[in-house]
């Protein structure tokens, strides 16, 4: 890994679906250890951007490179192995598995046993390996404070808990870059605070680089190092949170506030 | 009533071959019942159970095992290819003679003399000419018919049937004999066992100029085929296999001529056959009016049961009714007809080396042009017991 260069480099990425231009020539880079946020109105192309990074979509033009390596043509599973993990805006848990198993799936690429050694559980070392990784998953579970639901079936959980399990699953990958798509959606203030705390910890203690999409400006302002704003697939601003918030275009297209003061009042109410 | 022996009867009434299996099963059932109400096997009561296995092999085996372990079965009446084949080794091991309605040639080779026999079947018997022999008889008749009707050149013969054990049973044997008799044998025409629209195949048959088409399939499929062929104007003389040749089939097809098929018993409507009185009595077991029409399959079922009965009688007189003795009983006589069924069943002979019970086939010509079907006897063919035909 090149320690100096950016961990993620997006160059001139465009994405077209039929008539819709979801992204137009977007470029940006994320430095190792950064907490980078993407904001923008609905349908601006934020999720599409994450999809390009994680490999779900192939950009129509442009390239994505990760840790200095061009990963544009790579399949999502290969990118996961390189160290890109993510959560989803519309929950994508394995609904019929227990929470624990969901998280264990995150360990997939780190496990060695396979369909030949797995069945010979006791004799092939599969058991030992499973238990080792289980230990790590338990750490993640403790960290995200979901130990009370560890055996629950993921599909029966409430929305907020599922979001948390998704985060746990992505963390279990032990990625270098973690992509979070609206992690705070459907949470109340208290839970947002928890979530913010987890993200900061992941970033600072666990050393993961974070790219986050979020609509809660309070959170974005407080915890991110840098913010990029997309609108209609175009990058309209980027920089420190305060700078971006002050940007006229951003205010108009996204925040929809003409006078800050009244809104702040309402927020506190 | 301690003096009882158990005979199992596997029948298919509701399964894939139920439409024809029912006729045969009724014959066997009525015969067994009649035997019991008329003194059993020299006083020994036949305890029998008729089970509909719906043409499913696992069910057949389960029943077989049940009868073996619970009822101490000494002999069995069975039906289809699948179950008969599956049971070959079990019955040989348990020494239970099986009388089935599966007339596959290879079941006639009890010792595996013919190199083509994959597996000797020492405990399998059936009453009737094997499928191969029946087909041979048909082509032998066809060869003469071709001459008689003034045909010139080589007659064209086609095997028409599905690529399944049943239609395939006589495929090669029959084609070989046809070639031997100077037929021009076409590639077999494959037609599904399930009914459908067969005009495509009929066009092929028409194109090939087939004069004699052997129908290897059964009921519904044959009906569809003959009707389809009629539509496109392909009308060879049909040589039907035994299960596809009867009044019922003719009636359903309607509008057909030259529908030739073999039979190994007399017909229900035949006059002056001494054994028919007994058949009519047996028929009353399930139809007290005695009016119901019975197919020749029904009558063949009776023959099958009666050969077993007489072999049991022999066994009883010679050391007790056991599977082994019944088998020996089958070999005890030559050219025999069960008492009371003279003229109905044909004289048959089984030996320890050769289970080809009969080698004579009656050939009938059916027609249903314009209304009621008519069937006329065309010939009686007696085939030589060639060694290379044993088990094949």
């Amino acid at each position: 890994m090149t320690s100096q260069g950016p961990i993620l480099q997006i160059s001139d990425v465009s994405l077209v679906f039929g008539g819709v231009r979801a992204l137009s020539d977007v470029s940006f880079s994320v430095q190792p250890g950064e907490l980078f946020s993407i904001i923008g109105p609905n349908g601006a192309g934020k999720t599409s951007m994450l999809n390009c990074i994680s490999g779900r979509y192939q950009p129509t033009t442009g390239s994505v490179s990760f840790k200095g390596q061009d990963v544009t043509g790579l399949k999502p599973n290969d990118r996961a192995e390189l160290g890109i993990g993510r959560t989803f805006q519309n929950l994508a848990l394995f609904g019929h598995m227990s929470v624990l198993d969901n998280i264990m799936v995150g360990r997939h690429h780190l496990l060695k046993n396979n369909c030949l050694t797995g069945p010979l559980y006791w004799f092939s070392g599969a058991q030992k390996e499973e238990l080792e990784h289980r230990r790590f998953c338990e750490d993640v579970i403790d960290f995200l404070e979901i130990s009370h639901i560890r055996k629950a079936t993921a599909g029966t959980l409430s929305y907020g808990l599922r979001k948390r399990v998704e985060l746990a699953r992505a963390v279990a990958l032990r990625p270098d870059l973690i992509l979070l798509d609206e992690p705070m959606a459907g949470m109340n203030l208290e839970e947002k605070e928890d979530m913010a705390r987890f993200i900061i910890d992941l970033n600072e203690e666990w050393g993961m680089t974070v790219v986050m999409i979020e609509h809660d400006m309070g959170v974005v302002m407080d915890i991110s190092n840098r913010v990029m704003v997309l609108d209609f697939g175009r990058k309209i601003a980027a920089g420190l949170p305060e700078e971006v918030m002050a940007n006229k275009h951003v205010k108009k297209a996204y925040l929809g506030e003409d006078d800050d003061a009244t809104d702040e009042d309402e927020q506190v109410a | 009533d301690d003096d009882m022996v158990f005979v199992g009867h596997l029948m298919d009434i509701t399964g894939a071959t139920g439409f024809i299996g029912k006729f045969y099963a009724d014959g066997v059932r009525d015969a067994l019942m009649y035997i019991n109400t008329h003194g059993g096997i020299d006083g020994t009561v036949l305890d029998s159970e008729s089970v509909d296995y719906a043409y499913k092999v696992p069910q057949a085996i389960a029943n077989y095992k049940k009868w073996r372990s619970r009822n101490n079965m000494v002999a069995m009446q069975a039906w289809g290819t699948g179950d008969t084949e599956a049971l070959i080794s079990f019955v040989a091991q348990d020494k239970v003679p099986v009388y089935s309605a599966s007339y596959s040639g290879h079941l006639t080779d009890p010792t595996g003399k013919n190199p083509k026999t994959a597996k000797p079947a020492p405990y399998n018997f059936f009453y009737g000419a094997s499928y191969s022999d029946a087909c041979r008889a048909l082509v032998q008749w066809a060869a003469e018919d071709w001459k008689a009707s003034g045909g010139s050149g080589k007659p064209v013969f086609s095997h028409i049937g599905d690529n399944h054990p049943y239609p395939n049973a006589p495929k090669e044997a029959c084609a070989e004999y046809a070639t031997e008799l100077g037929f021009d044998v076409t590639e077999p025409v494959v037609v599904s066992m399930k009914p459908g629209d067969f005009k495509a195949q009929c066009l092929t048959i028409k194109e090939a100029g087939t004069n004699y088409g052997y129908l290897g399939n059964l009921g519904p499929s044959v009906v569809s085929l003959v009707k389809s062929c009629d539509t496109v104007g392909a009308s060879p003389k049909w040589l039907a296999n035994i299960w596809a040749g009867d009044y019922e089939t003719l009636k359903t097809i309607g509008d057909v001529e030259n529908y030739v098929f073999p039979a190994m018993t007399s017909f229900w409507s035949d006059e002056g056959v001494p054994g028919m009185d007994l058949v009519r009595e047996i028929s009353k077991m399930s139809d007290s009016s005695g009016e119901q029409f019975r197919t020749h399959h029904y009558i063949r079922g009776i023959c099958s049961a009666y050969y077993m009965k007489e072999a049991m009688e022999w066994a009883k007189a010679n050391g007790g009714i056991t599977g082994e003795n019944i088998k020996a009983g089958m070999y005890a006589r030559t050219d025999w007809v069960p008492a009371g069924l003279e003229g109905v069943c044909m004289p048959a002979t089984w030996t320890a080396e050769d289970h080809r019970g009969i080698n004579t086939v009656n050939i009938y010509n059916g027609s249903a042009k314009g209304g009621e079907p008519t069937v006329t006897k065309a010939a009686t063919v007696t085939l030589p017991r060639r060694d290379d035909w044993l088990g094949y």
Binding site: N51 | N163, V190, P195, K199, V223, T231, V232, G233
Partner: protein, 297 residues
Amino acid sequence: MNFELLFQLLLNGLIVGTLYGVVAMCFVLIYKSTQIVNFAQGEFLLIGAWVCYAFLVEMHMPFWLGFIFTLLFMMAFGIILQMVVLRPMIGEPIISVIMVTIGLSIFFQAATKWIFGATTATYPQVFETRSVNLMGMQIETAYIMSFVISLVIMAAFYWFFKYSKLGLAMRATAFDQQVAQSLGISVKTVFAMSWAISALVSGVAGIVIGMVNGVSSALSVIGIKVFPAVILGGLDSIIGAIVGGVIIGLLENTAEFVDGQYLHWGNLFSIAPFYVLIIILCIKPYGLFGTKDIERI
């Protein structure tokens, strides 16, 4: 190469293919509105064929009357079946419902054999002539009838799903029963309607097949036989069903030509559609007209 034979075979394929198309349409109808693949489809045909037979032969009705009565009967049958068996399954896993249709097929297979007998029966002469000459090829009159009917049905359904409110409701139900319910759609009504319509169309197809091949319980295999047609056209496309049916019909007949004239493998007629099916699916995973799943996260 024997062009005349090939031509006749292709013509035959086209005509028989539309019949496959009609049967395929019955599948599509059920699938489009309930996501269920009806394994009892063959038995539906069978029931239609037998009931019409009973009206014509046992009750000596004139054909058109018997035909209409059969359709009414089939509609009632579909609704009652839905009420008794399929309604309790609403909201249950689709695969369980599919298994239920397998249970139904076992049940009706035995029931029809019991009621109508196991042997084959033939319809009385319905049309003036049994077949008409079409470009040198004899075609059963019944096929011509099915050809016309299928076109009408197809047009009607196309409109129905695209524009009618009930059609929309059916599609919504197929997508997600829970959501449909939350919109006030009565899943029961949708189910009842779609089973009734499918049974009705099956009745038409059953009568045609019965007229051509005779009625016997083995006739129900056509239910499985048209699967390739359904898939080829795309599971949820009405037009696809017809196109798929015609393609299968043509394929079968071409296979018969190649096989009968050149290859002599036997059985290519019934097996070729399956090879082609796999190949086409590998190129177009949703058949020719099927809608793609939305793969978005």
